[in-house]
Symmetry: C2
Subunit: 252 residues, 2 copies
């Protein structure tokens, strides 16, 4: 049992952002709903196809990053990746009938919508509470710094974090080992002083590989094809939301 006289071990809490802290799905869906119904689907399934479309768009963004990593390509502006993955998705048989609805201004507007997301309801109280404690709190996520600056503002999370680390700043994507090593180097911290909190098993795998502790937060929008039982065994903690995050981190 830890006591107040023991030295603090965990110094930094590194938060994945989209998915983990932010409800990207709930943020984008209202912007798709006004589009004309998909011609192959009855109108009562409009929200279902739009939801599926978003889940696939999100997955294709992850796939695009993974592909770039495997080809040793440099990090790309997330707006550019979001546009190219959207356009590819609209070429698939399922979504091509819908393609004429996605005019250039609508596509531009959707790309910008990723910069304005709402947090999951458990996030603000958990982060406010943690920010009053002894730890440093960081956004540690793929994407651009402009995206992260816009997101903390839109989500009401401005000034909660000590600093925002984007893959644009780091120069490589998570879960590449170099990404975590660069962040720890800049912070002057050892792996045992860091915990990564994410709704993505890949982020946590990268964190474990460098020796950080890991907390998985389950979000229905993310890791939708992963076996949750495996994830529960792999990480130091598994949470359904962030309500107990402070307690879990104190006990790591």
């Amino acid at each position: 049992m830890s006591t107040s006289t023991e030295p603090l071990e965990i110094r930094a809490i590194l938060f994945d952002f989209m998915g983990t802290c932010l409800d990207w799905h709930g943020s984008l869906l209202p912007h798709l709903l006004p589009l004309p119904s998909h011609p192959s689907y009855p109108s009562e399934l409009a929200s279902k196809i739009q939801s599926d479309f978003l889940l696939q768009w999100r997955q294709s963004y992850f796939d695009a990053n993974t592909l770039r990593i495997s080809h040793n390509l440099p990090v790309e502006n997330i707006d550019v990746t979001h546009l190219s993955t959207l356009e590819t998705l609209l070429l698939t048989p399922t979504y091509s009938p819908w393609s004429p609805s996605f005019t250039a201004p609508i596509k531009d507007s959707l790309i910008q919508t990723w910069h304005h997301q709402i947090p999951w309801p458990d996030v603000l109280p958990a982060l406010q509470s943690l920010s009053r404690g002894p730890h440093e709190l960081f956004v540690h996520a793929n994407g651009s710094t402009r995206l992260q600056l816009d997101l903390v503002k839109a989500a009401g999370l401005k000034w909660i974090f000590d600093m925002l680390f984007s893959s644009q700043l780091v120069g490589v994507y998570k879960p590449e080992r170099k990404n975590y090593e660069w962040v720890m180097g800049v912070l002057g911290l050892e792996p045992r002083e860091c915990v990564t909190v994410a709704a993505h098993t890949s982020d946590l795998k990268g964190a474990r590989e460098v020796g950080m502790r890991t907390v998985y937060v389950r979000r229905w929008t993310d890791d939708i094809h992963d076996d949750q039982e495996i994830i529960k065994r792999e990480n130091d903690a598994y949470l359904e939301n962030m309500e107990d995050l402070g307690k879990v981190i104190r006990e790591l």
Copy 2:
């Protein structure tokens, strides 16, 4: 005269940090005073020689950066630069008699003291007021990210800034043109949307050269050999402290 219906032009306020926001001299002096008196100076001059020593140490840090820029050398950890400039200073005729007092633990402790500084008294109210306005506020300074994270905490300025930009992150020092261009690129801003606030004419010269607006804040500890009349003419505004900073920026 600007009205509320006109588009906001200035979006980002970029603050130099040490010297401009922080009183490095007043922060370090108490850590030198307990050292044995310099053997060549009567004790009543103790604080004078210690103050001069600090001013020269600070200047030698600027000179070291300038030298690195002129030789196209990469940015260096500021702790390393502070140590090497301290050791060089202790080899000069003026300070070498004092050298035995600077044991290794004292030198290490002084290097760390640069991470714990107090703000000038006008800074906290000015920045708190600005942070409630429409602009984004950034630390934009040479040095390391660890230094800046420690300094915002020590100075009571945590969560005032939207983000901290160090030369370590940027990869080149101010006043190199590339430094400002990189920051504007990351922020997605044009020069006319940015104003640099600094107590260093060199920082502001770099900012002007890329087209930013500039506000000079006079601090007795910095630019001690510069002609203040020239500085007054060169910049969009010249202030004795930050009390009127908000007003000055609104009128730029």
